[in-house]
């Protein structure tokens, strides 16, 4: 399992090259007809004939920032994708092609006025400090979180689990080999508004779509018990509906039944939160029944997320077995 390697690669929306090259290297020899399109999506075919054709989608991009202005050793930036600005002050980042180190600056406690916490700094006033490295920086450079990947007792922590964990899951399935007619699609610019999927869904001929995601887990402080849905360690997460798609009920039922047959734990996602590539896929052509399966990760869209590797194993297994069921017609 190389979630570590994959999640440490750097690729905000629109700059997914590193991730794409890595995935190509990983899946070469395990599938046919690897191709890319002009926006950067990566496609791979696998498996043989089946009654229904399935498209599996995972996005390569991660949330981050982009340098918008260089002001001495301080960089102005805009977020790319949804980032909560309160997470940023004091965060270590890497900038541009050279992965130049920097830090999101934050006034020291000494200078804070009484009653004014660091949380009160508005996003537009935050700067990235690159010290003497400013020569290496250009406007438009991507900024990613500088987070080490660690694994211990089956728990992983790192950046970009949304959605490298989905990419890893699809790579695992490709390597395992599927019997059904599957198109694996690694998309770009999901965090910027499902843009890669909008293009990709026009380029594939499929009967069912499945987005494979890293989603939030809510078993964390500040969330009331009844809202802790989904939770880490409770198995893959099936989406009934989110802001972008109402999942195909037939697919959801088929997956629940597969989970029952194989003794795979699963949970439902909190309805109508978030959106995924399935939002574009299901609206393509004459309509493509779609659903979303995710790995529950705490603290996604932040410098450091957590996930349980057993959830990822279970997710791979659920998707793998569901491909078998769904491709036979539901």
């Amino acid at each position: 399992m190389s979630l570590g390697e994959l999640s440490c690669l750097r690729g905000i929306s629109g700059q997914e090259k590193e991730v794409r090259s890595y995935i190509i290297r990983e899946i070469e020899g395990h599938c046919e007809d690897i191709r890319t399109d002009s926006i950067g999506n990566l496609y791979a075919k696998s498996g043989g004939d089946s009654k229904s054709r399935i498209g599996l989608f995972a996005h390569m991009d991660e949330v981050g920032m982009m340098v918008t202005r260089i002001d001495g050793h301080l960089l102005h930036f805009d977020p790319v994708g949804g980032i909560n600005p309160v997470l940023l002050p004091g965060t270590k980042v890497r900038i541009g092609e050279n992965a130049t180190p920097g830090v999101v600056g934050c006034p020291p406690k000494h200078l804070q006025k009484k009653g004014e916490g660091e949380l009160s700094i508005p996003l537009e006033d935050l700067r990235i400090d690159v010290g003497d490295f400013v020569e290496e920086i250009e406007i438009g450079d991507m900024v990613t979180f500088d987070t080490e990947y660690r694994e211990r007792s089956g728990v992983a922590k790192g950046k970009a689990f949304d959605d490298r964990i989905g990419c890893q899951c699809l790579i695992d399935i490709i390597k395992k080999g599927v019997d059904a007619d599957c198109t694996f699609v690694f998309t770009v610019q999901e965090e910027a508004g499902l843009r890669g999927a909008q293009v990709a869904s026009q380029n594939v001929d499929i009967d069912y779509g499945m987005a494979c995601e890293g989603t939030f887990a809510l078993d964390q402080p500040g969330v009331p018990d009844y809202d802790k849905m989904p939770m880490m360690g409770h198995g893959p997460v099936i989406t009934i509906a989110d802001r972008s798609v109402i999942s195909s009920r037939e697919m959801v039922d088929a997956m629940a039944s597969v989970a029952g047959t194989f003794g795979i734990p699963y949970q439902f996602k909190r309805p109508f939160a978030g959106g995924t590539d399935a939002g574009m896929v299901h609206l393509s052509g004459f309509g493509v029944p779609s659903c979303v399966v995710s790995n529950p990760c705490r603290y996604i869209h932040s410098p450091c997320a957590m996930a349980r590797l057993e959830d990822l194993n279970m997710m791979s297994k659920l998707i793998y077995e569901s491909i078998g069921r769904i491709s036979e017609g539901i």
């Binding site: 009844y226 809202d227 439902f268 109508f272 299901h282 609206l283 393509s284 052509g285 493509v288």
Partner: protein, 334 residues
């Protein structure tokens, strides 16, 4: 027409599960058309008429509703909304949970600024296990309780006139225009209330010279208006055509065409300038469509359990569509 309207309104059809409405419509309309089929999204398509200009009438089958988020230890259900609900209006209204378990929406918070999170459904359950036995839990759909009553004159009250009124007008028009030379296509769409999604799918493949998108619009000809400017439309004064909403702008030549037809056929016409959007939005920017006209039925108290309309507007709406189809047909034959 009213018998069909009542049946359609009483059916459950929350966005994403329009099957019950589709079934009624298919049974009603299939005998009158040449071809009936469904796309993979669930949009239901009827085709009839000649080989003249392609005229598509679209109306969405879905309605707003909710989805169970969690059930507490005492068996009360909490939910999220599907489409836009007004929490204030929901308090005290009856709903059906899942296949048909009745319940009432109540609030745990007093005061005005209610949010959907503050509301719960009491379905009489003693605990979550009883509900689980009925298959009710997170993900179960919630729909406004069926009710249909005759008010004074032509006025009627029901849930989901938005947009079963449009669906009904579409069906009636298809029946009466069966012998037109136009290629007549009716598309009953899905998931309009969650972001005109069915219409987006239609816009991938529909090729049409004219699209008439049927929906409802706000009539604030009631004490709720603070001035006459708020009225938008009135009940009983005929269908309204949209000049502008958030996703559509009417071309002047299209407006003149519709106004001309209405005038020649003696049909009163109103104008809708509002926010939001209808199925017309994605269709009028699609590659295969030439002219798109949103035609709306005035409706009071939209998105509540007690929406009010005037049957006369439905009849005038059918007449306007028949007039439009007739003139498109005769113009093509010249």
């Amino acid at each position: 027409m009213e018998e069909l309207l009542e049946r359609l309104c009483k059916a459950k059809g929350v966005s994403g599960n329009e099957r019950e409405v589709a079934k009624i419509l298919e049974e009603e309309l299939a005998p009158f058309v040449e071809k009936t089929w469904k796309d993979n999204f669930g949009n239901l398509i009827f085709e009839s008429g000649g080989n003249g200009p392609a005229v598509v009438i679209v109306a969405h089958m879905d309605e707003i509703g909710g989805m169970v988020k969690h059930v507490d230890k005492e068996g009360f259900l909490y939910f999220v909304d599907i489409g836009s609900n007004n929490p204030q209006q929901l308090v005290g209204s009856r709903v059906l949970v899942g296949e048909g378990l009745p319940g009432v929406i109540q609030t745990k918070k007093k005061g005005k600024d209610l949010k959907v999170e503050d509301l719960y459904i009491d379905a009489g359950a003693g605990g979550p296990d009883e509900l689980k036995e009925l298959g009710i839990g997170p993900g179960t759909l919630i729909v406004r309780g069926p009710s249909y009553d005759r008010l004074m004159g032509q006025r009627r009250i029901s849930k989901s006139f938005d947009n079963r009124a449009g669906v009904c007008v579409m069906a009636e028009t298809m029946k009466r225009a069966a012998d037109t030379g136009c290629r007549l296509i009716a598309a009953a769409s899905c998931q309009e209330e969650v972001g005109v999604r069915g219409a987006k799918v239609l816009s991938n493949y529909i090729e049409a010279d004219y699209v008439f998108a049927l929906d409802v619009t706000f009539a604030v000809d009631t004490p709720q208006r603070s001035s006459d400017r708020d009225m938008n439309t009135c009940l009983g004064k005929g269908p309204a055509i949209t000049l502008k909403d958030d996703h559509y702008l009417m071309r002047p030549d299209v407006r003149r065409f519709v106004e001309g037809v209405a005038e020649r056929h003696g049909i009163p016409l109103q104008y809708d300038i509002s926010t939001g959007g209808t199925d017309a939005g994605p269709l009028y920017v699609s590659k295969g469509v030439s002219v798109t006209v949103p035609i709306l039925i005035p409706l009071r108290y939209m998105h509540t359990s007690s929406e009010v309309l005037d049957l006369g507007d439905l009849e005038q709406c059918v007449r306007l569509l028949l007039g439009l189809i007739e003139e498109i047909d005769s113009h093509a034959k010249k």
